[in-house]
């Protein structure tokens, strides 16, 4: 079996004592930051990115995987205990999870979420291991026009499946593409949009952009809402262990959630978000007594949490095989890889199989760490939740600025952080989600390069995108996705799915 020998390579590369240690630290820090009220997984990952930069590539990716799962689980903990979803994917967990917490059953809810996520993560990892090489081999046949069309499809789907206004998200992505072009043009050596600032000749750094737009903007939004400045949150935890009945009720939900999540996660766009909503709907449909939902049904936690985690796992597939980040979290992963000198895509699997399979193995290790680390430490996380925000935000701000500065000891980076903080803030005031910008920001140079090569191939004829079969198929798929938004039935479903925000 190929999968098994490949996975063995991965575990061989990943399972050094040192790497497990980094994964453990990553998981711990990820949960620590993710569980804090007012910090969703995206800002949590952005804040912790700098600490992985100094490590060698594989260790750094493994630590990052730990941070990622830690932050996601930390977010679920906050949703269940205090009804504050840190991200869209946790919204459905809030519905029944918080009801369970109110009935004093927060412990079982969190335990089922962790165990369900672990199971889903395991299946998701197998999915990645199985599908990765197939897609990657297919991607070897891609040429410049195909890559260009692929990016068009990826960005379009990301917009449609994410929440918020579609047209605004498209505009935000285009601005991201434009900002990604700032710096020296590789072909002509001309500097573009640098305004004579030598610090951005190599392009605007990724880290200050994400820290400003996601980390700091979030602080300002929380300070404005005043909700976070109120007296500390009360959260209680009695027993951790679920009863036999809980297990009995939740395992079918976990299975269904995993299946839904694994499949939807592969789609570009908010795979995990869509997956958790879909799973909740399914659970409600198949339940014998649907009226229990919304009043603390354990299936309402187990299903979506598993779907969410399976989806976050399989959303690595487009990134690792096609180099296409499907949502903001994946864009952060991609940025971190590029800082390590790895351009994600089909080439990674052939040129650095240890890295690819090591990463796949580290996903599973990260998931396993979560169960080992988080369940026993739940009382500590609950304590953390009660920290007042007025003490937290100066500390968060300090971490953000030190993280960016320590990366290259350059004070100009602070100006970039400030600019993107204000920009992110203005976008939210005008009802635009800032998250899609980061996708465009990373893909800007790639898209330009592939467009240039395609047009050289075709001697300037744009019809090349419709003449190559792969490219044409991808563009037809894009057209279908666009048609979906216009199509009223889907539009309504989409509105219903995201209305709870």
């Amino acid at each position: 079996m190929d999968i098994i020998s490949n996975l063995a390579t991965g575990f061989g590369a990943a399972l050094s004592l040192q790497n497990i240690f980094f994964c453990l630290i990553g998981c711990f820090l990820g949960t620590l930051i993710g569980v804090l009220p007012g910090i969703g997984p995206i800002p949590a990952i952005a804040m912790l990115l700098p600490i992985t930069f100094g490590l060698e590539p594989l260790s750094s990716l493994i630590m990052l995987a730990g941070i990622y799962y830690g932050a996601a689980y930390g977010g679920s903990t906050t949703s269940i205990l205090v009804n504050m979803p840190g991200e869209a994917a946790s919204i459905v967990t809030c519905i029944d999870g918080h009801q369970m917490a109110k009935q004093g059953r927060a412990g079982p809810a969190l335990a089922v979420a962790a165990l369900g996520s672990f199971f889903a993560g395991t299946i998701g990892t197998i999915f990645v291991a199985g599908f990765g090489p197939i897609l990657s081999a297919f991607a070897q046949q891609f040429n410049s026009p195909d890559y260009f069309s692929l990016m068009v499809l990826g960005l379009t789907t990301a917009v449609v499946l994410a929440h918020g206004s579609v047209v605004k998200a498209v505009a935000v992505i285009l601005i991201g593409l434009l900002l990604g072009l700032v710096g020296t043009d590789v072909n002509s050596g001309t500097t573009r949009y640098t305004f004579g600032v030598s610090d951005i000749w190599d392009g605007i750094d990724f880290l200050p952009v994400v820290i400003g737009m996601f980390g700091v903007t979030e602080i300002i939004k929380n300070l404005e809402s005043k909700e976070y400045l109120r007296t500390p949150i009360k959260a209680t935890l009695r027993s951790i262990w679920p009863t036999m009945k809980d297990f009995h009720d939740s395992w079918p939900a976990v299975l269904r959630g995993t299946a839904v999540g694994s499949i939807l996660g592969i789609l570009p766009g908010g795979g995990a978000v869509l997956a958790s909503f879909a799973s909740y709907t399914i659970e409600k449909k198949v339940a014998k007594d649907p009226s229990r939902f919304g009043k603390g049904a354990i299936e309402g936690v187990a299903g979506p949490e598993s779907a969410n985690n399976a989806g976050s796992q399989t959303s690595f597939i487009p990134l690792l095989t096609l180099g296409l980040p499907s949502n903001a979290v994946m864009a952060l992963m991609m940025g971190a890889m590029m800082i390590q000198g790895i351009q994600p895509g089909s080439a990674v699997m052939t040129s650095r199989p240890d890295l690819f399979w090591g990463m796949v193995a580290s996903m599973w290790i990260g998931n396993a760490m979560l169960v080992i680390l988080n369940l026993p430490m739940l009382p500590l996380w609950v304590k953390l939740l009660t920290l007042p925000y007025r003490l937290l935000y100066p500390a968060i701000l300090m971490f953000c600025v030190i993280g960016v500065y320590a990366n290259n000891n350059n004070a100009t980076q602070m100006v970039i952080v400030a600019v993107f903080t204000v920009f992110g803030y203005i976008l939210t005031r005008f009802g635009c989600e800032p998250a899609p910008m980061i996708l465009g920001f990373l893909l800007g140079p790639l898209m330009e390069e592939n467009l240039r090569r395609s047009l050289v191939l075709s001697r300037g004829d744009p019809m090349i995108f419709f003449q190559r079969p792969i490219s044409l198929t991808l563009l037809i798929m894009t057209a279908c996705v666009v048609a979906l938004i216009v199509f009223p039935a889907f539009k309504r479903t989409r509105e219903v799915a995201f209305q709870e925000e």
């Binding site: 072009l181 300070l223 300090m398 009802g431 300037g460």
Partner: protein
């Protein structure tokens, strides 16, 4: 009669139009080239014009479809948080980590109404000690510890 129906959309539309025009204007000296030999100005110019187009569409929609109002920004958190970031950049090279952290914690604390001075002082000292221990000794980051002139 033309009436503003969705202020957020009109604001976003204007923002995109401005950004797109800025992209066109500041990219005007870049060689455009031809589709076959794309110059450095080709892709940015196209992108910028598409952004302008999207801006016009979004802005125009704000006159026809109802939408939520713009929540007035509160200047205090925005300005003080940004001030804290810029102060960090200005101070860190000259004054070293602990002093800089003390100062930015105080600036940040005033981003909310009525911070307690005593509590802020304790927090600032705690954060300064923590930052030195964690970043300089723990992670071995090359951050300046004290001032240099």
């Amino acid at each position: 009669m033309i009436r503003v129906k969705a202020p957020q959309d009109i604001g976003a539309g204007l923002l995109f139009i401005l950004l797109g025009l800025a992209g066109v204007y500041f990219g005007r000296d870049l060689t455009y080239g031809s589709p076959m030999r794309m110059g450095p100005g080709f892709f940015p110019t196209w992108l910028s014009w598409i952004i302008v187009g999207m801006g016009i569409f979004i802005g125009a929609r704000g006159f026809s479809i109802e939408g939520p109002p713009i929540v007035m920004p509160q200047l205090r958190p925005l300005l003080l948080v940004v001030a804290a970031i810029l102060t960090f950049g200005a101070m860190i090279g000259n004054f070293g980590l602990p002093i800089t952290v003390l100062v930015i914690t105080f600036i940040a604390a005033f981003a909310r109404p009525n911070p307690s001075l005593k509590e802020t002082a304790l927090l600032a000292i705690g954060l300064a000690i923590f930052a030195v221990l964690a970043f300089i000794y723990g992670l071995g980051q090359p951050l300046p510890l004290w001032w240099e002139f």
